[in-house]
């Protein structure tokens, strides 16, 4: 292997790598374009909605001629300062990276983190379904299978998945994991 040939190989390899990378970049861009056009990324519309609500909240706070309902919430602290009823400081959500007004952050997080919850709920449902089959088949069970399964299903649908899992699994959590 001569020197120039090796260099050529290296350059060729980089070129091929660049080609592969460009191809993947185009794929990603195309996918994002598709999602944008089809409106599949519901966060996009919600972002505009949230920005509107944030602006509204800020406007309400800034406007001195508000209804008395808002005014009574202006508490004066020991330094004589008043704080706006809706926190106006803007910062970045660590989950999705958007700029959110502090006063809107809790409802935003509900939706933002909730997007992951939908996926986890599905997992919970399938794992509880597997548990239900096991419970019904197993002769050695402390609980009556039917009542347990129905209550399990209701719980996992209605409550946040973490709490639901803990309750429904109870003592049965361990055997599942070991198997």
């Amino acid at each position: 292997m001569s020197g120039p040939n090796e260099d050529n190989n290296t350059q060729l390899s980089s070129h091929i790598f660049g080609d592969l990378l460009d191809s993947i970049i185009v794929d990603v861009a195309s996918e994002c374009h598709r999602i944008a056009k089809l409106g599949l990324d519901r966060n996009l519309e919600e972002e505009e909605e949230e920005m509107r609500l944030s602006a509204q909240a800020r406007a309400r706070v800034a406007d001195p001629s508000n209804s008395s309902e808002t005014n009574t919430k202006y508490v004066v602290d020991i330094f004589g300062q008043t704080h706006p009823s809706v926190a106006t400081e803007i910062f970045e959500c660590m989950n999705c990276g958007r700029s959110i007004a502090a006063g809107r952050f809790a409802p935003h997080l509900e939706k933002c983190m909730g997007k992951g919850r939908k996926a986890r709920l599905k997992v919970t449902r399938s794992s509880t379904a597997a548990q239900n089959r096991y419970l019904r088949g197993s002769p050695v069970s402390t609980y009556s299978p039917y009542s347990n399964s129905t209550s399990t299903n209701r719980l996992s649908n209605g409550t946040p998945s973490v709490a639901g899992e803990e309750y429904s699994n109870g003592t049965y959590e361990e055997p599942w994991n070991k198997t």
């Binding site: 290296t10 350059q11 195309s30 996009l44 972002e47």
Partner: protein, 123 residues
């Protein structure tokens, strides 16, 4: 590692991929320096290009690169408006940052496999 040293030099000097050299009819050159076109054909026909691309995609997914690029696209789409965005826009949004932010380990792994392929098909 001399390899990574070479990589650094190459990366800074290559901002955009050079267009593939036109296919040459000079027999000598074809014999000594396999053109990009020739290698490309071998890559595709052997199925290695597809494998390499999937490997690269998997690595980039694992390290969060793809998520970063998608976030860039989303941010751009929000600013420009959902219906005004073109694929070309997004490609231009992602390309510079994308090419620069590939982790070195990923790049090294792919380059190693490419070089191995080149060696295995050396004339």
């Amino acid at each position: 590692m001399s390899h990574s040293h070479k990589l650094v030099i190459k990366r800074s000097s290559m901002s955009r991929p050079p267009p593939p050299p036109p296919p040459t009819t000079n027999k000598d050159q074809q014999h000594q320096n396999p053109s990009f076109q020739e290698i490309n054909i071998k890559l595709i026909q052997s199925g290695e290009k597809e494998r390499l691309k999937e490997l690269l995609r998997e690595r980039l997914l694992e390290c969060g690169w793809i998520d970063e690029m998608k976030a860039l696209c989303r941010a751009f789409t929000r600013k420009k408006g959902r219906n005004n965005v073109t694929v070309d826009d997004l490609v231009h949004v992602i390309s510079p940052k994308g090419r620069a932010s590939v982790p070195n380990s990923v790049k090294a792994e792919l380059l190693q496999r490419i070089r191995a392929f080149l060696a295995s098909t050396a004339d």
